[in-house]
């Protein structure tokens, strides 16, 4: 009988173990599914369908009377027409107006603009030039070439019709169109056309925002932590501060967005969509995280260090700033990195203060309109076009890779400077 009860008691233990292992495996499988599904969605955005055009331009058209290059003339020139006529040379059979329209739909709507930018950059000498340039195909042609648009569904439900598919295929056969590395994705800001959209604008926006966040939150958090650890007299005010810090760490991030909207935007009149405001809001949000981490780090320094300094005649301030703070720095840094990673991935408060606008320019100052990486991901995945999903996934991969390396850096720092006193 005893043996039987032992058996059932052991079985209970095994069951508990199995529950634990299953749960952990479930969590890990979910992590893997998440990353793999996003990776499978996104890897193809590393490539983009380009086509090659041989174009002849006469730069004398773009100079003013004195011979200096004239941007205005360049902007007025019919670049789209130049691209379209060059494309038509490949398909002389296309005559009909509607057919022409369909043909031009397989190349990017921005092709003319891109060509102008390329020519501008090349700064050709005066005279007539013939050069071959690679321009974007449209996002539908691009998705078709990547096999992302299934051609089994009826023609009228597809974004690309049979004629267009035939043209694209013939371009590929003639080696005029092919998939190349998608440089645009890393060098441009947002665009209405998926093929010209990139993440650089939002990366810079995020960088400007985080700069404001760290300049605002880190000094304040360290000073507050030192105060709470060494100078605060036990009492109601100190207790109240502590309760507030702990609560703020758990307030939903969107509430900080509402705070930013009603205080920074409508009371202080700071500009909408600006990295300055975004940084301040995220700074307020990460402040408690850094304060808590800094306090823990300061507390882990043995009191003997401080007491030795005090015993040798240092003042309380000198003991804190000259002796404890340098030793606590690695811990504070770790906490800061984790707080910054949290701020970098945060989206909701930025939506509240208008950083969700469609912005084509790369931001340059703290008050210019900008967007941030997670917001860009949100906007792209909200859009109807398949090619934007792909870009959204790739942007996620970059963001997550960056965040994981930030967190790893924090772990490595902690391991490296971890001291047993």
């Amino acid at each position: 009988m005893i043996r039987k009860s032992i058996q059932s008691r052991r079985a209970r233990e095994t069951r508990l173990k199995i529950y634990g292992i299953t749960s952990i495996c479930f969590a890990l499988i979910m992590l893997a599914t998440l990353l793999i599904s996003i990776g499978l969605n996104g890897y193809s955005a590393l490539q983009q369908a380009y086509f090659k055009l041989d174009i002849s331009v006469n730069t004398e058209k773009f100079v003013d009377d004195s011979g200096a290059p004239d941007n205005n003339k360049m902007n007025l020139f019919n670049w789209d027409g130049l691209v379209q006529s060059a494309l038509r040379e490949f398909f002389p059979e296309v005559k009909d107006r509607d057919e022409k329209k369909e043909l031009f739909a397989i190349i990017s709507a921005n092709a003319g603009y891109d060509l102008k930018e390329i020519i501008k950059k090349k700064a050709l000498g005066s005279g007539s030039h013939t050069l071959s340039v690679w321009l974007h195909l449209s996002d539908d042609a691009d998705q078709y070439l990547k096999g992302r648009l299934s051609i089994d569904i009826p023609e009228e439900d597809r974004r690309i019709n049979n004629k267009q598919i035939a043209w694209v295929n013939s371009l590929v056969e003639r080696d005029i169109a092919k998939l190349k590395f998608n440089k645009t994705f890393f060098t441009s800001a947002d665009s209405r056309e998926p093929e010209s959209a990139g993440i650089l604008g939002s990366v810079i926006g995020s960088a400007l925002t985080l700069f404001v966040t760290i300049m605002f939150a880190l000094p304040l958090a360290v000073m507050a932590a030192i105060y709470l650890e060494y100078f605060a007299k036990p009492g109601k005010i100190t207790d109240f501060i502590e309760v507030n810090v702990n609560n703020l760490a758990a307030v939903p991030s969107i509430v900080f967005g509402l705070l930013g909207l009603s205080v920074f935007l409508s009371t202080f009149g700071l500009p909408r969509s600006a990295p300055l405001v975004g940084g301040l809001v995220l700074g307020l949000m990460t402040l408690p995280t850094i304060i808590i981490a800094s306090r823990a780090s300061i507390r882990s320094i043995p009191p003997s260090i401080r007491e030795a300094a005090l015993g040798l005649g240092a003042s309380k301030m000198q003991a804190a700033l000259h002796h404890v703070l340098p030793l606590a720095t690695p811990g504070i840094l770790t906490g800061t990195i984790i707080g910054m990673a949290q701020a970098l991935g945060e989206t909701a408060p930025l939506l509240m203060i208008g950083m969700v606008a469609f912005i084509i320019d790369i931001p340059t100052t703290f008050t210019s309109s900008a967007t941030a990486m997670p917001v860009q991901i949100y906007m792209w995945s909200d859009s109807a076009e398949r090619a934007f999903y792909e870009r959204s996934s790739l942007a996620i991969l970059f963001l997550v890779a960056f965040l994981i390396s930030m967190n790893l850096l924090a772990v490595v720092l902690r391991k490296k400077f971890e001291k047993k006193w």
């Binding site: 008691r9 209970r12 233990e13 508990l16 173990k17 634990g20 292992i21 749960s23 952990i24 969590a27 979910m30 992590l31 998440l34 599904s37 996003i38 969605n41 000094p219 304040l220 507050a224 030192i226 105060y227 100078f231 605060a232 501060i241 309760v243 507030n244 810090v245 702990n246 609560n247 758990a250 307030v251 939903p252 991030s253 509430v255 900080f256 509402l258 705070l259 009603s262 409508s266 202080f268 009149g269 307020l284 304060i291 301030m317 970098l344 991935g345 989206t347 909701a348 939506l351 509240m352 917001v375 949100y378 995945s381 909200d382 999903y389 996620i396 997550v400 965040l403 994981i404 967190n407």
Partner: protein, 460 residues
């Protein structure tokens, strides 16, 4: 002459640094004249001069930079209203916005009056910048000179500097209080304006949420109704689904990690779960909307069920996955905080490990575990991006997880990201929801923190 902000700031900084060295060498000279010793190090006198010159002037700079433009706007607002007494408020603000844009050169106009005002506006701004620079620099110079002049070798500069710095430290600690107060006040006052337009009890107990108010007065549209019960119910439904996923998985993972896992497994699993915790919520939202929602729809379809494409279950399940690491790491800490002596005692009496866990450790850890779960619930309620991307917009009064529901955060985002006027009832209703959200999560947090603290005290 214009003095840009960065220029003023660097002049201020330079001046303050100058006073640092000025005071530092000055005090040595004074001491030598009196053939006396300084009571503090010379650098302390320098620090004192630096702080006295820099901090007050910097605060003045901050106030003028933030408050100045608002003040000018107010003056011009009044001016426009005086010139045209018949205009109503919103029209005056519109003209003011036009004047500002013209003065910045963003738009051009042919209207004489506006061009005149824009010119005045530009001049007013230039004057503001000029006087801001003048006041700040003069203030710094004056204060720096006064303090450097008054320093005597016999005064203890170190003590005064340290007192000053402690006050600055105190001020930065108090920012936490200010932030909370600012959140409460701003939410409260905007919500109060909403309740002036809409009955408070209709908001709290109303069963119908449809914020489609006519944007223009001549537009024909249904009267908007703002009853928050369906929105609240949707929030609770999605949070409940999330908890059904997260609590068992998080707790069992934590028990395994704390009690059974070898150090090697622990060292691998813990950081991996931390990665799960470090993934931004927008990524989970993307996953929920584009992978999980179609997945649940397919499953429902094959079972003959009609699953909405924005079903509560997809958003809830993905939110649960997001919260797993949160619960597991908090519970792991709680379980490991249970003293080893309890374990040893139980094992010594012949209990198996499972029995020790069920009968001894979990009861001892229960307050902390409840605290962890409550914090997780508060996080689920306040979570925004997953539901914005994967849950619906229409407020259905239902508890069916296969249907589409909306949440408080979704409504806040959708009400505030459009191009609405700030005084609009729709915008204000978002603050009403925000206030409800804040108080709900605040109560949960306070409760959770006090419960966890009780555990910590029990075994101290």
């Amino acid at each position: 002459m214009t003095l840009p902000l960065s220029f003023v700031f660097f002049v201020l900084l330079g001046l303050s640094v100058y006073f640092y060295y000025h005071a530092k060498s000055g005090i040595v000279r004074k001491a030598a004249l009196l053939s006396d010793r300084t009571k503090a190090l010379p650098s302390h006198y320098g620090q004192q001069s630096f702080l006295w010159a820099f901090i007050p002037s910097f605060l003045i700079l901050l106030v003028l930079t933030i408050g100045g433009p608002n003040y000018i706007d107010q003056i011009f607002y009044n001016k426009i209203q005086e010139l045209n007494p018949t205009f109503n408020e919103s029209f005056v603000s519109l003209i003011l916005a036009k004047v500002i844009n013209v003065s910045n050169g963003k738009i051009s106009t042919g209207e004489e009056n506006i061009i005149m005002l824009a010119k005045d506006y530009k001049i007013a701004f230039e004057q503001l910048h000029f006087y801001r620079g003048l006041v700040v620099i003069l203030c710094a110079a004056l204060l720096g000179m006064i303090i450097s002049y008054r320093q005597k070798p016999g005064s203890n500069a170190r003590e005064e500097v340290e007192k000053f710095i402690v006050n600055i430290f105190f001020a930065s600690a108090v920012i936490a209080i200010f932030t909370t107060v600012a959140i409460i006040l701003s939410l409260f006052f905007e919500a109060l304006r909403f309740f002036n337009l809409y009955n408070f009890f209709d908001f709290i107990f109303g069963l119908h949420w449809a914020p489609n108010v006519a944007i223009r007065t001549d537009q024909v549209a249904a009267e908007g109704s703002f009853g928050m019960i369906p929105v609240l119910l949707g929030t609770l439904l999605i949070s409940f689904i999330a908890m059904c996923v997260a609590i068992p998985i998080g707790l069992f993972s934590a028990i395994y990690l704390a009690e059974f896992a070898t150090p090697k497994i622990r060292d691998f699993v813990k950081p991996t779960l931390e990665i799960l915790a470090g993934i931004p919520t927008v990524v989970y939202g993307y996953f929920a909307a584009l992978t999980a929602a179609p997945f649940f729809r397919e499953i429902g379809f094959s079972l003959g069920l009609d699953v909405s494409s924005e079903s509560a279950i997809a958003a809830g399940a993905v939110m649960g996955i997001m919260i797993i690491p949160f619960i597991s790491s908090l519970s792991d800490d709680v379980i490991r905080a249970v003293p080893q002596s309890l374990r040893d005692g139980s094992m010594g009496l012949g209990a198996t490990k499972a029995e020790t866990i069920y009968i001894v450790i979990l009861p001892a850890a229960i307050p902390g575990l409840i605290g962890a779960v409550l914090l997780a619930v508060s996080r689920a309620i306040g979570e925004t991006m997953i539901v914005v991307m994967a849950a619906g917009l229409s407020a259905n009064l239902t508890v069916n997880p296969l249907e589409s529901v909306t949440t408080v955060t979704v409504q806040i985002v959708s009400l505030l990201t459009g191009d609405t006027e700030f005084d609009d009832i729709k915008t204000l209703s978002a603050f009403g929801l925000g206030l409800a959200l804040f108080f709900f999560t605040l109560l949960l947090n306070i409760f959770a923190l006090s419960i966890s603290r009780r555990l910590a005290e029990r075994y101290d």
